[in-house]
């Protein structure tokens, strides 16, 4: 065996193979030669040091050789770059380095990127754009696939030549639209008002405002589709505000035809003060029942960095009554902040309005935030909670119990 190896090694050294490899003649090698080289490698048994015939720095030659022609072209470009072009250049390098960077970036986005105050802000913004791009691409791919499938089925249908008979003309969408609009129009005359307080623009970042508007658009949608819609008011709405800009982005020309009341006046000017109730998670008062004669106010604010007491402060300043949803009374709270999104709020309020059933309404609280519903009185609940903690945490239970007692007394104190 050994002698065979030695022999093979000799063949390797003197053969044309390394020569061919060195000179990049890979494509010219005959298939025969390829199989030969594989079998040679296999038989080497790692006994010879491969560096003898493997030119380890060959890659450098390749990298350098390919450049000679390009180099001459690149030199004039090298001079002064504008700040924008430089930023674009850096982004490109980051993308090559495998960071989360979008492939295409618009001028406007590039400007926002350059205005980011810190490195981490830049990184975050790029990641956001990257993910956005990814989602968009995926959606597009799915749409294309869907279209293809549709085409296929249509083809098949045309082949079988099967005509459908139906007594209705297919006008579902527009018919439904009309019915909904009719209902909302009615609520504009007779419906219970619901106020969105649009005065938080300066408390939010641009992205938070965008999220807020998105959530309001969703709430408006679900209000429109409900059986008995609210009459939505946007109060303190300034015409040249960021809110307005974002709404126009979402609704486009439909913004003018929306069946809601938009005003730059404050709700205290529009409605009698004693009828207003400001809904805020920070309120010490807990809502017991939904009152059909009151006008509820929801603050149009997304606060990602949990700023406590902003909306409570506003209500305090105006001397309004406040209320919080009875989340703790009905739900075994698990994690997450108690402030809900605006569309969740809308779902909850609509359900309360229709049924008055808290359990049904609070179904709209995200499932991850609570463990389950509470049906027992509070002191029994405390016992179960202890039990859960004991099972969950074993030894630490004593500590947890104390914690709970502390929290609980705080809560009682506030009532």
């Amino acid at each position: 065996m050994q002698s065979a190896n030695v022999l093979l090694k000799k063949i390797m050294r003197s053969s044309v193979l390394p020569f061919a490899a060195q000179h990049g003649m890979k494509k010219d090698l005959l298939p025969l030669a390829r199989t030969l080289s594989v079998s040679l490698c296999l038989k080497q048994d790692n006994s010879c040091s491969p560096s003898e015939k493997l030119d380890l720095d060959a890659w450098k030659k390749v990298m350098k050789s390919g450049l000679q022609e390009e180099d001459s072209k690149m030199v004039p470009e090298r001079e002064e770059l504008s700040a924008m072009a430089a930023a674009r250049e850096i982004l490109e390098m980051w993308r090559l380095a495998g960071r989360l960077v979008p492939e295409n970036i618009s001028e406007e986005q590039l400007k926002t990127f350059m205005e980011c105050p810190s490195k981490s802000a830049k990184k975050k913004y790029l990641k956001y754009l990257h993910l956005k791009e990814l989602y968009k691409k995926n959606d597009k791919r799915k749409m294309d696939e869907k279209r293809e499938r549709k085409m296929e089925t249509q083809e098949q249908a045309s082949k079988t030549d099967e005509t459908k008979r139906n007594s209705f003309i297919c006008l579902w969408a527009s018919g439904m639209d009309k019915a909904y609009s009719w209902r909302v129009a009615q609520s504009m005359v007779f419906g219970q008002p619901l106020v969105f307080d649009m005065s938080y623009e300066k408390d939010m970042s641009v992205r938070e405002v965008a999220n807020t508007v998105r959530q309001i658009v969703l709430s408006e949608g679900c209000n429109r589709r409900s059986v008995d819609p609210f009459h939505i008011h946007f109060c303190n709405f300034k015409d040249d505000s960021l809110y307005h800009e974002e709404f126009l982005k979402h609704y486009k020309e439909a913004w003018g035809k929306l069946l809601i009341t938009v005003t730059d006046r404050c709700y205290t000017d529009v409605f009698p003060k004693d009828k207003l109730i400001y809904l805020t998670a920070d309120s010490p008062k807990v809502m017991k029942t939904f009152d059909h004669d009151k006008i509820y106010i929801v603050g149009s604010m997304v606060d990602k960095s949990i700023k406590t007491g902003v909306s409570l402060a506003r209500a305090k300043r105006l001397g309004l009554e406040t209320a919080a949803l009875p989340l703790e009374k009905y739900l075994l709270w698990n994690t997450g902040a108690k402030n809900l999104t605006l569309d969740q709020m809308m779902h909850i309020l609509l359900t309360l309005k229709d049924t008055g059933d808290w359990k049904k309404a609070l179904e709209f609280v995200p499932k991850r935030k609570y463990c389950g519903f509470v049906s027992k009185p509070v002191h029994e609940l405390k016992k179960t909670l202890n039990l859960i903690d004991m099972l969950k945490l074993g030894k630490r239970h004593e500590e947890v119990r104390k914690q709970f007692a502390k929290n609980y007394s705080k809560k009682l104190r506030q009532k």
């Binding site: 490899a21 990049g24 890979k26 390829r34 080289s37 594989v38 490698c41 790692n46 040091s49 491969p50 560096s51 493997l54 030119d55 380890l56 720095d57 060959a58 890659w59 450098k60 390749v62 990298m63 350098k64 390919g66 450049l67 180099d71 690149m74 470009e77 090298r78 430089a86 250049e89 850096i90 390098m93 980051w94 090559l96 380095a97 495998g98 960071r99 408390d203 010490p284 406590t308 007491g309 902003v310 409570l312 402060a313 506003r314 305090k316 300043r317 104390k402 007692a405 502390k406 007394s409 104190r413 506030q414």
Partner: protein
């Protein structure tokens, strides 16, 4: 995947690649593993050769990975080669590659190259602090202290915070060197520690000590010691700076607390203008107080006692020496309940002044205001670390002032150890725990590397240096 131990032929790489689950990312994963396993550089080269021959090009991220491997193994000439290739290939590089290049070259004998790279980075972005760190260390390792300090000042001017490692390097490498300028610069570093309330760790402290003792003709001697509660150094019997703020600092802090903590963006968030005004007149009519107590915080001291008994104990304990007390609470405490007995509350109100805030107001803000308004002698009692209020302060300097003031004026209560004793008063520190000097002495607090240090805890160990 385990990277191979020896360089492979193209065919072998192909075979490995085909046996890999997702061949599309084979090379990337392989390079990553090589960096992790610290494979021999030849293996990586053979893979690069394979890639170069089959694609005619090597993607940027492979080059960076290879560079990382070279840096890891200190292959200076390879690093230069890669840099040359990258430079011809790409117009600019990104921070990851620059970091590696600077780090790799600064550790080699071509460290001056790292400095030119630093200049190059400056053209397109702000270098990171680790870039500066590598360059400074390289410069000081080669005894070019002037250059190192130049870089250090440049770094500070860019608002980069130097690591303790860099600062330590300065002391390590200037040991035994002469020069008034150098000495001044190093004293400057000590003053930087003072201004930013940074405490060196044990090994850093040792470097400082050795440097002092090595100054030719300086006659410095260093001793490790603990400072007494009185604030006197047992070695040189020097009295440390006391923890009181200067008049200006004090007024500054008070104004900032009123502006940032109590009013903030909206006075209604923590209290209301009416209530705050009422509180202000209340304090003005009765101050100065000696001790301000956070009633609700103290009332939760011992869970077995009712809340008002706890508060009663505290008030009794503190009222002994004829001190003027102010207890802050909320209105719900006045309602007769199982936790708050009316008669006990009545009795307490004879011994101390009480102010009851609205139930939804924050009483901590009032606590700070009343204490600051009463003057420097006034202390306050709470177990709260007041971190959220510190966070409201807008700039770093004021936050430092706040911490210093808090250290000197907060009486915290230890419960666990002294569960049975009524109320143990932990003395507020009388001396200020920062690096300090009188010219011929230096006192430097340091922390044991293993000791956990919270931001509210200050080290108790000191390095005393004196000139004979």
């Amino acid at each position: 995947v385990q990277p191979p131990e020896k360089p492979l032929q193209a065919e072998e790489w192909n075979r490995l690649r085909e046996s890999f689950l997702s061949p599309g990312i084979f090379e990337e994963v392989m390079f990553k593993r090589m960096v992790k396993c610290n494979s021999p550089i030849d293996v990586a080269k053979s893979l690069l050769t394979h890639v170069a021959k089959s694609n005619g090009d090597i993607p940027y991220n492979f080059l960076v990975k290879y560079l990382a491997l070279c840096v890891q193994q200190g292959q200076a000439s390879e690093i230069r080669d890669v840099y040359d290739i990258m430079k011809t290939r790409f117009k600019i590089l990104e921070s990851g590659a620059y970091n590696l290049l600077v780090r790799g070259l600064s550790n080699s004998d071509q460290w001056r190259m790292a400095l030119t790279l630093l200049e190059e980075i400056k053209k397109i972005m702000i270098p990171s602090r680790s870039n500066y760190e590598s360059c400074i260390k390289a410069a000081s390792r080669h005894q070019e202290m002037n250059l190192a300090f130049e870089l250090y000042h440049e770094m500070l001017a860019k608002d980069l915070v130097p690591t303790l490692d860099v600062l330590q390097a300065f002391f390590d490498f200037s040991r035994g060197m002469k020069g008034a300028d150098l000495q001044k610069e190093l004293f400057g570093i000590l003053l930087y520690l003072r201004e930013n309330q940074i405490y060196p760790h044990k090994t850093f402290m040792r470097s400082i000590k050795l440097w002092f003792e090595s100054i030719p003709g300086g006659n410095w001697r260093g001793h490790l010691t603990n400072i007494k509660d009185s604030g006197q150094c047992p070695v040189c019997s020097h009295q440390l700076e006391d923890s009181n703020l200067t008049e200006e600092e004090y007024n500054n802090l008070r104004e900032r607390i009123i502006r940032d903590v109590i009013h903030g963006t909206d006075t209604y968030r923590k209290t209301s203008p009416q209530e705050f005004e009422a509180f202000q007149t209340f304090v003005e009519n009765r101050f100065p107080f000696d001790i301000v107590i956070d009633g609700l915080n103290v009332s939760h001291l011992k869970p077995r006692k009712t809340q008002c008994e706890n508060l009663f104990d505290a008030v009794n304990c503190l009222a002994k020496e004829n001190a003027r007390l102010l207890v802050l609470g909320r209105k719900h405490m006045l309602m007769n309940s199982s936790n708050w007995k009316r008669d006990i509350m009545k009795e307490m109100q004879n011994k101390a002044d009480f102010f009851f805030a609205e139930n939804i107001s924050e009483d901590d803000a009032f606590l700070l205001y009343a204490t600051l308004q009463s003057g420097k002698h006034c202390k306050f009692v709470t177990r709260d670390f007041l971190r959220d209020h510190k966070a409201c302060l807008s700039d770093r300097l004021t936050r430092h002032l706040f911490r210093k003031w808090q250290r000197g004026h907060q009486i915290s209560v230890k419960t666990k150890k002294f569960f049975l004793s009524v109320f143990i008063q932990q003395p507020a520190l009388r001396y200020d725990c920062v690096v300090q000097t009188t010219g011929d002495t230096w006192h430097i607090p340091y922390k044991d590397a293993f000791e956990e240090k919270y931001s509210y805890q200050v080290p108790r160990k000191w390095l005393c240096i004196q000139q004979k």
